[in-house]
Amino acid sequence: MQTTIRKFKTEPFLFHTLNFLFMIFVAIVTLYPFLNTLAISFNSGLDTTRGGIYVWPREWTLKNYEAVFASGKVYHAFWVSVARTVIGTVVSVFLTAMLAYTISRKEYMFRKPVTLIFILTMYFSAGLIPSYFLIKDLNLLNTFLVYILFPGAGAGLISAFNMLVVRTYIHTLPESLNESAKIDGASDFRVFFSIILPMCTPVIATISLFTAVGQWNTWFDTFIFASSRQELSTLQYELMRLLSSSVNSNANPSLSSTAAKDTATMITPLSIRAAITMVAFVPILVVYPFLQRHFVSGLQLGSVKE
């Protein structure tokens, strides 16, 4: 024992130091774009045009944020976003996990066709116009339900990708669990709920994050399916609208040449984009740690004993 410990003593130290330094490097490199965006969001737009803003604002201002919040529409939209994210994620993660469980069962007679049907959805797109007709025919235009049901960026009820991730994870669990439960006479529902689901915490946390971020970030379904009802507007959609109005007013020759030419633009598309990015990101930053512990804590959580 003594010798082995001594033998490994310098090696872990070297490894940990190098690993530590490497991680610091990764952190700096990946933190930079974020800090830069943060700095720009607090910097006067016209001053940002000059360039040379790195991680600290040169001319402090809150104007960019004021512009984001001034219309007042973002507050209600925030709630709609929260609702669609929470409901959409809970429903989708639950159904996806349940489906993944069924196709993880080797003896399930429809395992292959069901799996195939879902896999293929990742590789084709029917196009926007037919999808629009479907949503219209189902009377889902301008309803909240479209956010939950439409299989676009937000994933809809089922994400085939997530389904496969969960299935693969279930495959790595010891088969014995399943069998012992079966011998006890537990039904499939019970096996799923009381054995599989609890053991899938890391992967459930992962796909919850994927789904929630997808739901939170998407604005496209609002744009196509729900744009004519203000009360259904989502945060991302409101932010995108602000951004495009800012871009347009800086890109419209006729407007720039007459109506707006006597007024300098204090807020530029660049600065408003930075502020918007931050506003949309803060909720994720707040919620993330609660999910993170489920997939980063590693060994303690992976335990399958008992």
Binding site: D47, S71, V86, S249, P283
Partner: protein, 570 residues
């Protein structure tokens, strides 16, 4: 296991809780914001007396769809409130957020149109909009008067109906802009001052000044001087492609030169009209004066360079670098701002950079087939064209946005001007995105005031800096447009750039291919060694020969001829 389930549940609970807390914080603010706006007070009495002169309209909602070109109005926006109180019209606006092609695609497929919609040839082709000529004749005296001169030009080339009300291009009185916003070879005022305000007419004179100045000042504010830059990013392609037509003395017809006598269009891309210019740029590059990454940079990089004050000159349209100009002004680097010159190949050619704004049917409003009461809508648009509303939308509110001088002319105090720069203020008190699309009175009002503050001569002079005054005096000019020849009356078929090439047609495909070739070969020719220029150019010409340019030219010429016939018949 039980522990883990609880953990998952508590995680989810925390998630919801956090959302709620964050949201509650925000939503309280929201409520306060909302609460401070006066609740819908009955407009009855107050509005009746306020608008005795206007045609009274019953409470009515108009839905409209545009791309917002200005700050998005708040719910309690003052102008929208006035419109509602005085005209009974509630505007339900939807703004474009993503891609217009996608949005219009589903809108047309589903037939789900608002009442008013932004002009687009796709909508005309899909029969989404109704003919307006009878509506205007019967209900809209202001519009009738406004568009009277250009009535024929409003008609659709395919079926002769009027579908769109263009927002710009109809002038009252003289055409006399003070600021120049169009294309030109721009050069820093500091260079002109250094050289005693010389006259610049040709590329040689222009680049000589830049060369000498760059040699004398290799650095500006500690950064290397850039002699000449330009831009070819995404749709902002004129910096690379448009200069030759102007150098040859032609106005902006897009991708073609149109002979004013025969009204026939020819291409100038990859011809001897274009070659001398790019050859010149290649020489400039060899001297180290060309910004090597000009055609590989993005828009923000371009603006940043200009704003740093180290770019001596560029070919561009003035409005495209407005942000950089504003930035230079705010830094106090007035001598680094630019003046545009209308350069020509041959001094005997009369420059034609400054043009009389044409009618552009690709912009403005139309009324859709879904509108239940088009008469009320056209009456609303007509009312907005009245002098009262035009002033309200463009100048603002008297006493708040402008004051009236003893001579009856409007002016703004410095505080008022500053206020106009505040986007959050605009969201509450201006309606720029609506205003941008409405037909408008341009030129002067009968009382002598300019259409808007930007064109009021006194406002213009009040904003001039010392170096501007010095420069204008030295050249013997009063405004920036004086640097350009006064444009003749527009050729009837002018301009060719707004010809509808028809969706998906060979003409449109050819147009895209020509653009691709320009983007690929022109920078290559400019950046290659001067002795390689001919080689690259020959390859470019050869590739261009493979494109079906005839399809493009045929369509353009057919439309030019149609315009000449249809628009001169009256």
């Amino acid at each position: 296991m039980g522990v883990r389930t609880r953990k998952a549940a508590s995680g989810l609970f925390m998630l919801i809780l956090t959302f709620s807390i964050v949201a509650a914080g925000c939503s309280n603010n929201g409520n306060n914001e909302g609460g401070s706006s006066p609740a819908s007070q009955s407009p009855g009495a107050s509005s009746a007396e306020a608008n005795s002169s206007d045609t009274k309209v019953e409470p009515f909602t108009i839905s409209l769809f545009t791309a917002a070109t200005g700050p998005i109005p708040t719910d309690d926006n003052k102008i929208y409130k006035e419109i509602k109180e005085q005209l009974g019209v509630t505007l339900k606006e939807e703004y474009l957020v993503g891609d217009i092609e996608q949005k219009l695609g589903v809108m047309i497929a589903g037939g789900d149109y608002p009442d008013m919609i932004t002009a687009n040839t796709k909508l005309t082709a899909a029969k989404a909009v109704i003919p307006l000529e009878d509506l205007i004749e019967q209900n809209a005296p202001n519009l009738k008067k406004h568009f009277g001169k250009v009535w024929e030009q409003l008609k659709d080339p395919a079926d002769g109906h009027i579908y769109w009300l263009p927002n710009y291009g109809v002038y009252q009185g003289d055409f006399k802009p003070t600021d120049y916003m169009g294309p030109a070879f721009y050069i820093q005022k500091a260079i002109l001052k250094e050289n005693g305000y010389p006259k610049i007419q040709t590329l040689d004179e222009y680049f000589k000044l830049i060369e000498d100045y760059a040699a004398k000042y290799p650095e500006i504010d500690g950064q290397p001087t850039i002699g000449f830059s330009s831009l070819a990013f995404d749709w902002r392609d004129w910096g690379l492609r448009n200069a030759p037509q102007h150098l040859a003395g032609h106005p902006n017809d897009g991708g073609v030169l149109v002979d004013p006598n025969t009204n026939v269009a020819t291409l100038y891309s990859a011809t001897d009209t274009a070659k001398p210019y790019y050859n010149k740029l290649s020489e400039i590059n060899a001297k180290g004066l060309m910004d090597k990454e000009a055609f590989a940079q993005n828009y923000d990089q371009y603006l940043a360079k200009l704003s740093s004050g180290r770019v001596l000159g560029m070919f561009d349209q003035r409005w495209n670098f407005g942000q950089a100009h504003d930035s230079l002004v705010s830094q106090g680097k007035f001598e680094r701002t630019y003046v545009g010159f209308p350069l020509v190949y041959d001094v005997n050619t009369k420059d034609y950079y400054l043009d009389r704004p044409p009618i552009n049917l690709g912009n403005g409003f139309g009324i859709t087939v879904n509108a239940e009461d088009p008469v009320k809508i056209i009456k609303f648009i007509d009312t907005m064209l009245s002098e009262k509303w035009q002033k309200r939308l463009n100048w603002g509110e008297e006493g708040v946005d402008y004051l009236v001088g003893d001579n009856g002319l409007y002016y703004r105090t410095p505080e008022m001007r500053t206020q106009q720069e505040d986007v959050t203020w605009k969201q509450k008190y201006k309606a720029e995105s609506l205003w941008g699309y409405l037909p408008k009175l341009e030129g002067n009002y009968p009382d002598g005031n300019a259409d808007g503050p930007g064109n009021q001569p006194d406002e213009f002079f009040a904003n001039l800096k010392d170096i501007d005054k010095e420069l204008l005096t030295a050249y013997g000019f009063k405004t920036w447009t004086d640097f350009f020849s006064t444009p003749p009356e527009n050729r009837v078929s002018y301009p060719a750039w707004n010809i509808d090439l028809i969706e998906g047609s060979p003409a449109k495909v050819a147009n895209q291919k020509m653009k691709d070739l320009d983007f690929k070969y022109l920078p290559k020719a400019i950046l290659s060694q001067p002795d390689k220029f001919e080689e690259v150019w020959a390859e470019y010409v050869a590739q261009m020969g493979k494109v079906d340019t005839q399809a493009y030219l045929d369509r353009v010429n057919e439309q030019l001829k149609w315009r000449a016939d249809a628009w001169t018949s009256k």
